[in-house]
């Protein structure tokens, strides 16, 4: 009796607390989420914030900082290009004065050709740097896709979407590689060819040159649009088919677990749900972080390309209003070429966006 009382008195001293916890840290380590923050500059990290994997990632704050960064970039691009636009406008008015002064004489046309050649010299020099900045942004997106997509799709697979994650990851990786190859081998050369045709057409206006330029522009635009649409359609279709397979597989597995094992089956089934849930949270947080990073990488080049496109279109309208057709055609053509670069970068960003979103939305039941 005394022994029993002693045991009952000592038992509370050996009780240790135990509580359930979601294995976020272990999941993050398994999925390699650290790779998503590597390669970002200090400025980019200040916009994205740090990746929180327990569902506390501040998406609203990151979006707010992103919008502020976009506005700051646009303002700085406008300030940087004020002198450039002033040069172009002075060129247009100088050309207009000379053309009016010569009153249709052929010498006036040669003065216009001199102005076109000077404008072309100014524009071509800056166009090379614009193309290199755009290409650099695309390479960064491609490199980031190689870091981010495996994390998001691994988490998606761990949260139960095994088939759809694998298929979508393969499609996304393949599409990014194809887009990068196409852009280097075909789309950017098309844009340069279009610019060359625009320059030649502004020197010697010709319907054939104008038609060839329109065709090249159509080809580049159709390639970019077609790739993006094909990728989106493929992701949607594969998602429809494989998501239902994954949902059925998860339900079946949990039912089997709880049914086959007599005592601990239910516990195992609930524990597996906790693991799947943790993987799902990591997937969502990592996916949201990846989307923000894609926007942050694109915000600088987007601001630069948008401001320059609008600038060239504006100066082209001014040249049109004083009836300097050669200069107007040249400036409008350069604006179109920059718009095509913007479209190319946008295609790359949108495809990565869709891939990350597909990973986040992989249905696991």
């Amino acid at each position: 009796m005394r022994k029993l009382i002693l045991i009952l008195l000592l038992i509370p001293w050996f009780v240790t607390p135990a509580y359930a916890d979601f294995p976020y840290e272990q999941a993050a380590e398994e999925f390699g989420t650290g790779a998503m923050e590597q390669g970002l500059t200090e400025g980019e990290r200040s916009v994205t914030g740090s990746l929180q994997l327990d569902g506390r990632y501040d998406v609203d704050g990151a979006l707010h900082r992103l919008v502020k960064a976009l506005i700051e970039n646009v303002k700085s691009e406008i300030r940087r290009n004020i002198r450039f636009s002033a040069e172009l406008i002075v060129l247009v008015f100088l050309c207009a004065l000379v053309v009016i002064g010569t009153e249709g004489h052929k010498a006036g046309q040669f003065a216009e050709i001199c102005c076109v050649c000077t404008a072309a010299g100014i524009l071509v020099g800056s166009f090379d740097s614009i193309v290199s900045q755009t290409t650099e942004a695309m390479y960064r997106l491609s490199d980031y896709s190689k870091a981010a997509l495996p994390v998001v799709f691994t988490a998606a697979a761990a949260s139960g979407a095994v088939s759809s994650a694998g298929v979508r990851f393969a499609a996304a990786s393949f599409a990014m590689d194809v887009l990068m190859s196409l852009s280097q081998s075909l789309i950017i050369p098309c844009i340069f060819a279009y610019l060359a045709i625009v320059l030649a057409n502004s020197l010697f206006p010709n319907q054939l040159l104008a038609a060839v330029g329109k065709f090249i522009k159509w080809t580049a635009t159709t390639l970019m649009t077609g790739m993006t649409l094909a990728f989106t359609a493929y992701i949607q279709i594969t998602g429809l088919v494989s998501s239902s397979v994954d949902a059925a597989a998860v339900k079946t597995t949990r039912t089997v677990l709880s049914g086959v094992l007599p005592v601990v089956g239910g516990i195992l089934s609930d524990a597996s749900a906790a693991v799947l849930s943790a993987a799902g949270v990591v997937r969502s947080c990592a996916g949201a972080f990846g989307l923000i990073v894609v926007c942050v990488i694109c915000v600088g080049p987007f601001a630069m390309l948008s401001v320059k496109t609008l600038l060239f279109k504006m100066v082209s309208r001014i040249a049109d209003s004083v009836q300097i057709d050669r200069l107007s055609g040249l400036l409008s053509g350069v604006g179109n070429a920059i718009a095509m670069l913007l479209g190319l970068l946008g295609s790359c960003g949108i495809m990565l966006f869709i891939a990350l979103t597909a990973g986040m939305k992989a249905v696991s039941g």
Partner: protein, 128 residues
């Protein structure tokens, strides 16, 4: 405005005198016309300072100011001299001479613009 009224007055008065003496002495009539035209052009020299300031402002804004402005001004001067000379030849009923002057003016302007065109063609070649 005063300069314009003076130029208009000289032009109209000289045209009238030229018409009156043309029947008796066409050579003198042509000389009166040419001298009146030169006088009117010299009368506009007060505007050259304003044009000069405009060109200096344009040069200061454009990075390639001197490289561009000189050929454009040359083309402008070529056009004005060609137009003026061809008109005088036409007034003297010398259409062939007028055409020859206009053609010479076109070739001069082409020669001024040629280096720019060659440079741009090299740029286009580099792109392709």
């Amino acid at each position: 405005m005063e300069v314009l009224f003076r130029c208009a007055a000289i032009g109209i008065f000289s045209a009238l005198i030229s018409l009156l003496i043309k029947r008796y002495n066409p050579e003198l009539s042509f000389t009166v016309t040419a001298l009146a035209a030169v006088t009117i052009l010299l009368g506009c020299r007060v505007f050259f300072d304003t044009a000069g300031d405009l060109i200096k402002s344009a040069k200061s804004i454009l990075n390639s100011g001197t490289t561009l402005v000189q050929p454009v001004l040359k083309c402008l001067v070529i056009a004005l001299v060609t137009k003026f000379s061809a008109s005088l030849c036409k007034d003297a009923s010398q259409g062939a001479l007028a055409s020859a002057v206009e053609t010479a003016g076109t070739f001069c302007a082409a020669a001024v613009a040629a280096p720019f065109v060659v440079s741009l063609l090299h740029t286009i070649n580099g792109m392709i």
